[in-house]
Subunit: 411 residues, 2 copies
Amino acid sequence: MALIVQKFGGTSMGSIERIQHVARRAVATHNAGNQVVVVVSAMAGETNRLLALAGQVTKRPHDREIDVLLATGEQVSIALLALAIEELGCDARSFLGHQVQIRTDGVHGSARIRTIDATPVEETLQRGAIVVVAGFQGVDEEGDITTLGRGGSDLSAVAMAAALKADACEIYSDVDGIYTTDPNVCERARRIDRISGEEMLELASQGAKVLQARSVEFALKYKVAIHCRSSFHDGEGSWVLPEELNVEGAIVTGVAYDRNSAKLTVVDVPDVPGTVAALFQPLADAHINVDVIVQNISFEGRTDVTFTVPRNEADQAVALANAAGAVHGWGKLLCDKQVTKISVVGAGMRSQPGVALRMFAALGKAGINIQLISTSEIKISCVIEDKYTELAVRVLHDAFELEKPPSERGV
Amino acid sequence: MALIVQKFGGTSMGSIERIQHVARRAVATHNAGNQVVVVVSAMAGETNRLLALAGQVTKRPHDREIDVLLATGEQVSIALLALAIEELGCDARSFLGHQVQIRTDGVHGSARIRTIDATPVEETLQRGAIVVVAGFQGVDEEGDITTLGRGGSDLSAVAMAAALKADACEIYSDVDGIYTTDPNVCERARRIDRISGEEMLELASQGAKVLQARSVEFALKYKVAIHCRSSFHDGEGSWVLPEELNVEGAIVTGVAYDRNSAKLTVVDVPDVPGTVAALFQPLADAHINVDVIVQNISFEGRTDVTFTVPRNEADQAVALANAAGAVHGWGKLLCDKQVTKISVVGAGMRSQPGVALRMFAALGKAGINIQLISTSEIKISCVIEDKYTELAVRVLHDAFELEKPPSERGV
């Protein structure tokens, strides 16, 4: 007998028919001899409906009360799902965040999970019932309702799986797993059977959707095996495994791209200690997430610094850097929003020094100029001109033969 | 500085505009130097919407999950009202049933309040904030959400007022108080300024709406003064006072009627010990609420027994009484559903023996035949033919001069 946590998002819970479908799936898993915990989101559209109501009341909503409001969405979901499971003749019992209990810090709207007391859930499972847990919500030390922010239900599911030492955490969505790259861009994209959490993290943070980065981090930390599956069919999906290994033996696991970047270059910066810190301090103070940073070699005591920031924060970053430049004496600031960061990710590249070269060669052969390069242990990223994004994705996918299973690739 | 509990029902919370209106009223009360606790129901229509969703999932809903579902209605209300109050520049803080905490028994759908720990509410009031409490809901010993049944928000408000030793519990609705009788039937009906809880209980249980009987019982027990007021204007309403006194000095306070009765007569009952018990035991077992009971004097060892039951339970009562009759040997059973119970209520009649006579005379003069009579300390009820209901109400209202203030009445 295995203990399975299943998570269904708002689309999977989007109508009574879909809720009944989720109920059948949970009961089938239960009847196959497993203990089942189902974590659900609010019905699709419900969160927006509630926010619209609040928007009619105030333009400056108080975070605490918004959390009280939004948490009702998941509460409706758990009640309806529990009723639907019982209608199928199986015992079910719903749990709210404060009943589980999912204890968080007090940061309303993006709270972080601190502890889970899984005892009441375990007792309910032992009585043979299916447990239905409200995702996205927790309770802080004062007993106030908190919510976990975007993708919070994934996190609730992974955290429940960790607390219960579950055998698997199944994340259901409308896609059947994680692909070697975006199938909308490259039709030869292949579903990955197994991927390490570390690789997943690089793919996710680079723009691959499916799983929220915080959930993967949590799964890595607490050794939870995640199975990303389709709500619509029974086939296997992709396993995200907590081992820090190259689980499929591939050198490159996938190609990710991030169109949400802007490239900033500060020219003629005095090459003296403390200058770069003076540039980045105001950006850090403004919570602007600086990504790739490259500093050229110094020439006559002056240098250039180039970095990327999220595109929607670029204008603010330019203003802050110019203000600092006026004090510290650096030159003009160039900003280019027409860039994409494209990355190849793979735990296997640690032991394969030729990967970067093959990436650069493939891009070069396709006539794509590389503007910036950044590397980590399991990722190589290049900033390129935005218009080449799709071409670059396909070129790199082909170059690393990602359409084939890892064992059949030439390299 | 007074501590005021204000309760607003679903109609008063029926739209964003109305919620903003409730917020203004609460803030005005607060700014007048009072501590304010607002207890609210779900927005009008919300409970039905939620029940319809559940109805699509199952025809046999599990009570526990229905309570989880329905409790979201009040949760949305408290969040929106707290936001609306804050928008007016006043601090507000919402509390759910389990946060207050309103502890109940575990009878889902009609739970009874056991205890309230008002400490967190008191602390919040002391910090100068308006407290917004979800009506209708509590939490049982296992931490499960319970709901209090119809009119439950009134009960929540009275219970909060009792726990906080509030100076008043204001119940807002679309009527401006309690009337000497139904104004739809008798246009001379007059708003009662002050009424004792005991009298209110007799009026309420006889069909006068406005306040739920359980709330009045609770107010009597815990000495809470209730002020029934209109949501739509600022004028005084009716005070329901916990003293067991004739608070206005009136002999008769009001006229109530109950059309939801049926009259059953068992003829030719053996007048031997135990027979009447044998008749009523099966009705009690079936939770049928037997009201007026009259037994005629015995004639040749046989008697008749007449009683009323709720009209929608009459057929079941007839079947049960007939089954018992077959065993115990009584005669045929007559059932008349075309009856109304009309009552005059007044704590002052205790010391005025002429009230019953005046009631009978007024009905007789109008040609209305009295079928059954039942009296208690502060109420005289007559069962009459249904079609005379409105006439009887007006005749009795006139006979006791209820259109005048108590001090100006002739008797």
